[in-house]
């Protein structure tokens, strides 16, 4: 277990110490959500109606913000070469890196959701539903983003390629995340969309690391 805890500990330490990861994502989330009332106007009923969608969009964009450094930083300073020369399979190494990213970048978004929900005039039930769906759905965002991060390293393109690659793939997560939140608010069936959301997360948890490792192996040059 030592190699895994070593990566987890190092990545979390880096994210917290550079002042990058955790805080930056939450601040971006805060800004996006506070901008919305300025754009759509202070209509409380309307805000309550579109609140879950705004929170989901904000969280989606904020989680992408730090993703392009997930593997690129290690690639630039040569760490990635050494990570690939370890006895740990690259699939597991990138999975642990994704886990560290989720803990430092996505978990703070989930924790900040109740506060930002108040900004959008959401009721406690709706806030709980959005936070729960974000908790279940953000692992999918991280793991899909992991594929994009590996591809942008392998193709040696800058960070701008990443959102273009990743955002279209996150559409199902967004649809079912918002659908489950709205279902909870309207009192219709919450179970079905929420289960699909969980399935998306579990599926990408399996697929993401393999695809990312394959991209890294293929990009070796």
């Amino acid at each position: 277990m030592t190699p895994f805890s070593a990566i987890l500990q190092r990545d979390m330490r880096l994210a917290l110490r550079v002042g990058g990861g955790a805080l930056m994502g939450v601040l971006f989330f805060l800004i996006v959500v506070t901008l919305v009332p300025f754009a759509v106007g202070p209509d409380l009923v309307q805000l309550r109606r579109i609140g879950p969608a705004i929170l989901w969009l904000g969280a989606l964009l904020a989680s992408l913000l730090t993703l392009d450094r997930l593997l690129a930083a290690d690639h630039e300073d040569g760490s990635l070469d050494l990570l690939l020369m370890g006895t740990t399979p690259p699939e597991l190494a990138v999975l642990v890196k994704a886990a560290a990213h989720w803990i430092t970048s996505c978990l703070p978004l989930v924790i900040a959701t109740p506060l930002l929900g108040l900004f959008l005039n959401l009721e406690p039930l709706a806030i709980g539903a959005v936070a729960l769906t974000l908790l279940a759905g953000t692992p999918a965002l991280t793991c899909i983003g992991l594929i994009g991060a590996a591809l942008s390293v392998a193709l040696r393109r800058g960070g701008l390629l990443l959102p273009i690659l990743v955002l279209p793939l996150t559409v199902p997560v967004l649809i079912f995340g918002v659908a489950a939140s709205n279902a909870a608010i309207l009192g219709t069936s919450f179970g079905a969309p929420f289960m699909i959301l969980c399935a998306l997360s579990l599926g990408s948890l399996v697929l993401g690391p393999f695809a990312a490792a394959a991209a890294l192996r293929h990009g070796l040059e």
Binding site: A6, R13, L14, G78, D81, L82, T87, L220
Partner: protein, 201 residues
């Protein structure tokens, strides 16, 4: 007894053939110096052996090593990049690689001290000079025991004392049955065979 051999090795970068039909053979306790002009493929050859590049042709084999591990998993690669994180301290940087690459964490202080970095253990790596960063990378080689050392310009940025220390470490490694392949423009300071790449320099 370890034996590293490559036969008919070819390397293509971009669409340019860097070298082909390259053969080499190296056994425990031997050092090989790769020499040649810039762009002759010295670094590429090291990365091929480390498994960080795929050969366009030919194969690399290691006999006598751990059969379940790849060559890369039994080799240290010291490239141009230091693989150091600026915001982690000297000791944290080394401790991470020891834990990840499977060394003994108890060897950390000794490895730092032997490269003259003992006093700097708690300093963030951002404040290290180029030579000190190099020394920290070298500390990785002795903190984690791996039989094959692949060194790309190991003496760059090192002062005279550092070069002397490196020579000593390489001697110890060879005496312990390891093998070294180093790309270099200057003398290595140890007895080594020479492989010239890319025609006359």
């Amino acid at each position: 007894m370890l034996q590293l051999s490559a036969s008919g090795l070819g390397c293509v970068r971009g669409s340019r053939s860097v070298f082909d039909h390259l053969n080499l053979k190296l056994s425990s306790g031997e050092a090989l110096a790769l020499v040649g002009p810039n762009g002759a493929g010295k670094s590429s050859l090291l990365r091929l052996i480390a498994g960080l590049l795929r050969p366009a042709a030919g194969r690399i084999e290691l006999t006598g090593g751990a059969p379940e591990n790849t060559i890369g998993e039994q080799a240290h690669y010291l490239g141009h990049l230091d693989a150091l994180k600026a915001s982690l301290t000297v000791a944290e940087n080394l401790a991470f690689w020891i834990r990840y690459l499977g060394g003994d964490i108890g060897s950390l202080r000794g490895a730092l001290a032997s490269l003259g970095l003992g006093e700097l253990a708690d300093l963030p790596a951002a404040y290290l000079s180029a030579g000190q960063r190099r020394r920290l990378s070298l500390a990785r080689l002795i903190a984690i025991s791996r039989p094959i050392w692949l060194l790309d310009e190991p003496t760059s940025a090192l002062d005279a004392a550092g070069r002397e220390r490196l020579t000593e470490l390489m001697r110890q490694h060879l005496a312990g049955g390891g093998l070294i392949i180093a790309a270099t423009h200057g003398p290595l300071g140890i007895e080594s065979r020479e492989l010239r790449l890319g025609g006359p320099a």
